[in-house]
């Protein structure tokens, strides 16, 4: 065991764990059932672009949608079958709205194709190729943030990564999918850690696991001794919510406080969830794209609790039905944990790369939403905030609509939405809901501002164009007018020339006339002999 000194982040909470309900049974494979609905956007960034057509037959692991841009991820077929639709379908989102999805009808054959070459000896492969593989395999952060892993791996230019932090804290109550994964596939997780270290050139790999998971820690230790890699260190950390938040976990493990403006990669840390590490292992060593994930089914409203490995795109209702359905008194279905998850409007939504837990609560477990009372400024929210914000101040900002102050002065965007402030508030004020509202409101204003700037640009461009067209028309008219005038002037000079000529002709004519007249006059003076002779000739005839 290491002599690592652990640190304690400010604030935090010890909520009831509820882990034992679902972590006792091994991961079960979900049976294919019904249609698979694969949203094009199961990650942060641009939605994938479909590369298949309706009616096309696809095989397992075949590419269905390619990544669109740098911050994006591709999606692959979880089984073989036919594409029956590419259309908007309801997705798991607090709004209950629809999003574009590829709908796959499984044919039951589950015919696979080899998507990529397996690279069991990943140490011989260049890190850049491995990153490309992670990208092509559609691996995203499986802890719930679904940020494309390859983007994180690209890191910051000039800042080397020294430590890979594998996050196995799983601090939210109820959720046990990472716990079961670490117990059953510890080797995959640690091998994924080795691949990640190789990719970024890190010299250390810390695996942080909350000490409420002794079996997982034991399994990881066993796997680590098998790998015999001195760079890997398994660390049991105290169970405090939210120790699984990236910066909090890094602080607990190393004591490095990463400031608000910075990302962990800028300080040389690369944080990945243990499930992401396992997905990296499968992508690199087995050449498999990410098409399945482990989902925890739990809560007092669920007949049978446990963990299931499901093909992505499977509908929540199908999985729940397969697992034994709800209890009769189910009242609420939550995607994610009780702290950061959200209530689903319907269970006919697909499970995506982000779906770590389906929590069904029976009526007696649904927290009552008493009417919020006024803030009494007890300061409990500020004491328990793990990011050391002033939630009560942010609440005033959000209530007053002073979003600028919330953003600039009270660091709203540092809020990790862990929900502790709302839990500890004695006045039952839904603080975190105000913060979520304020965040989306700020984004909306940002969009409106951009749109206004764009409209202004277009308006000005249009005015400039109209102005230019007017000027051009005027210039054209002016040039036409000038041309006409020039023609006229030319005409005049031409007529002047004609006059001259006419005059010359006239003068010539005059001269001829004058000469003729002169000739005639001289002829009259001396009677012409010719005339007489001519007369004589006529007489002779």
């Amino acid at each position: 065991m290491s002599e690592r000194i652990l640190h304690r982040f400010p604030g935090g909470l010890h909520p009831a764990q509820h882990k034992a309900e679902s972590n006792g049974t091994p991961i079960r494979q979900a049976r294919l059932q019904g249609l698979l609905v694969l949203p094009l956007k199961q990650h942060i960034g641009n939605p994938a672009q479909p590369v298949v057509a309706v009616g096309e037959r696809v095989r397992r692991h075949q590419l269905l949608g390619r990544a669109d841009g740098f911050v994006s991820a591709p999606i692959h077929a979880p089984t073989s079958g036919t594409i029956v639709a590419i259309e908007e379908r309801p997705v798991a989102h607090p709004s209950g709205l629809s999003a574009p999805c590829i709908v796959l009808e499984p044919d039951g054959l589950d015919e696979a194709m080899q998507a990529f070459d397996p690279w069991p000896d990943f140490r011989a492969i260049a890190p850049i190729l491995l990153r490309e593989r992670v990208r092509e395999a559609g691996v995203v952060g499986l802890g719930g943030a679904v940020f494309p892993s390859a983007v994180k791996l690209a890191g910051r230019p000039g800042i080397p990564i020294h430590t890979v932090v594998l996050n196995g804290a799983e601090c939210e109550p109820y959720i046990t999918c990472d716990d079961r994964l670490m117990r059953e596939r510890a080797g995959e997780v640690l091998c994924g850690g080795q691949i990640l270290m190789h990719m970024v050139g890190a010299s250390k790999c810390l695996v942080g696991v909350e000490d409420n998971k002794p079996e997982a820690i034991a399994a990881l230790h066993a796997a680590a001794s098998e790998l015999d890699d001195p760079r890997i260190e398994i660390v049991a950390i105290p169970t405090v919510y939210p120790s699984g938040a990236e910066k909090q976990l890094i602080y607990v493990l190393t004591g490095e406080r990463i400031s608000r403006e910075m990302r962990a990669t800028e300080r040389g840390f690369l944080g990945h969830n243990v499930a992401t590490a396992a997905a990296v292992y499968r992508a690199v060593v087995l050449g498999e794209p990410l098409t399945r994930r482990i989902v925890t089914l739990t809560g007092s409203g669920m007949q049978h609790k446990g963990n299931w490995e499901v093909p992505l795109g499977m509908l929540a209702c199908d999985l729940i039905a397969q697992a034994g359905g709800y209890t009769p008194d189910v009242a609420r279905l939550i995607l994610g944990g009780p702290m950061m998850g959200f209530a689903l409007c319907s269970d006919e939504v697909p499970l995506t790369k982000a779906a770590n837990c389906l929590l069904a609560l029976a009526a007696h477990d649904v927290p009552v939403d008493p009417l919020p009372l006024p803030c009494i400024r007890c300061g409990r929210c500020a004491e328990s905030c793990p990011v050391e914000l002033q939630p009560q101040q942010l609440l005033w900002d959000a209530k007053a609509g002073d979003f600028e102050r919330a953003e600039k002065q009270d660091s709203l965007f540092e809020c990790i939405e862990c929900g502790i402030c709302a839990v500890v508030c004695p006045s039952h004020i839904p603080l975190v809901q105000y913060f979520r509202y304020a965040k989306t409101e700020i984004w909306q204003r940002e969009r409106e501002k951009n749109k206004a700037a764009q409209a202004k640009e277009r308006f000005e461009a249009r005015n400039a164009r109209l102005e230019r067209e007017k000027r051009e028309r005027e210039e054209m008219l002016a040039s036409r007018r000038a041309q006409l005038a020039a023609q006229k002037a030319e005409g005049e000079t031409a007529s002047a020339a004609v006059d001259e000529k006419q005059k010359a002709i006239q003068a010539a004519l005059e001269r001829v006339k004058a000469r003729k007249a002169a000739l005639q006059a001289s002829a009259e003076d001396t009677p012409s002999t010719t005339t007489v002779a001519e007369a004589k000739e006529y007489d002779n005839d």
Binding site: H93, E348, Y437, A455, F459
Partner: protein, 199 residues
């Protein structure tokens, strides 16, 4: 005495010259206040304020000729921002110019469009594409919802439709309003029918 007068005269001359030079050298082109006001307006160029565009309205506000509550597309948020900028009290939107409506965009019924190009000429942001005697259509991303194209259409084929809410643009509801809803109906969160089907 004389020295004092001389010194002060000299000072006055030098400082005056300096000020005069500074006034010329650091002259600000245009009206910076109007620019700031213009930046807060929604740039729909709809003319509902009674001025031919956002810029003229901004100039009118800057010169004190117009009130800050005459922009229906901007609504309450714009009035608040203008009040903050100008240091005056926000006031409700002038009923004379219309009311704040949810964001809408123009939509052309392409079956009815005769291709007269009148709407293209009316659009202040070139958000309508088409050619004479050919169908026209609206570029939704560019449409500001100013409604200026609706009136010129001779066949009334342009309608204002509410903007579709996209997942990425979805906003969390204001908990204040949620509370009002909750007071009406006790169970907002309980999943509706589809959940019960599988029970």
């Amino acid at each position: 005495m004389l020295t004092a007068i001389l010194v002060f005269t000299l000072l006055a001359l030098v400082l005056g010259a300096l000020l005069g030079y500074a006034g010329q050298a650091f002259r600000v082109e245009g009206d910076p206040l109007a620019d700031k006001i213009d930046a807060l307006l929604p740039q729909t160029q709809c003319g509902q304020c009674g001025y031919p565009g956002c810029r003229p309205y901004a100039e009118a506000i800057a010169e004190g000729r117009a009130d800050i509550n005459r922009c229906p597309p901007g609504g309450e948020a714009t009035i608040k921002a203008l009040a903050d900028l100008l240091g005056v009290e926000p006031k409700p939107l002038d009923a004379e110019v219309g009311e704040e409506k949810p964001k809408r965009v123009a939509w052309i019924d392409e079956q009815l469009c005769i291709g007269c190009t009148l709407c293209i000429q009316a659009c202040p942001v070139d958000a309508i594409v088409g050619a004479p005697k050919l169908m026209h259509t609206v570029i939704v991303e560019e449409c500001t919802g100013c409604e200026l194209c609706v009136a010129p259409c001779p066949v009334d084929c342009i309608h204002m439709v509410p903007l579709k809410i996209e997942l990425d643009h979805w906003r969390w509801p204001n908990p204040e309003q949620r509370r009002e809803i909750a007071e009406g109906a006790s169970s907002v969160h309980v999943p509706s029918k589809p959940l019960e089907q599988h029970v």
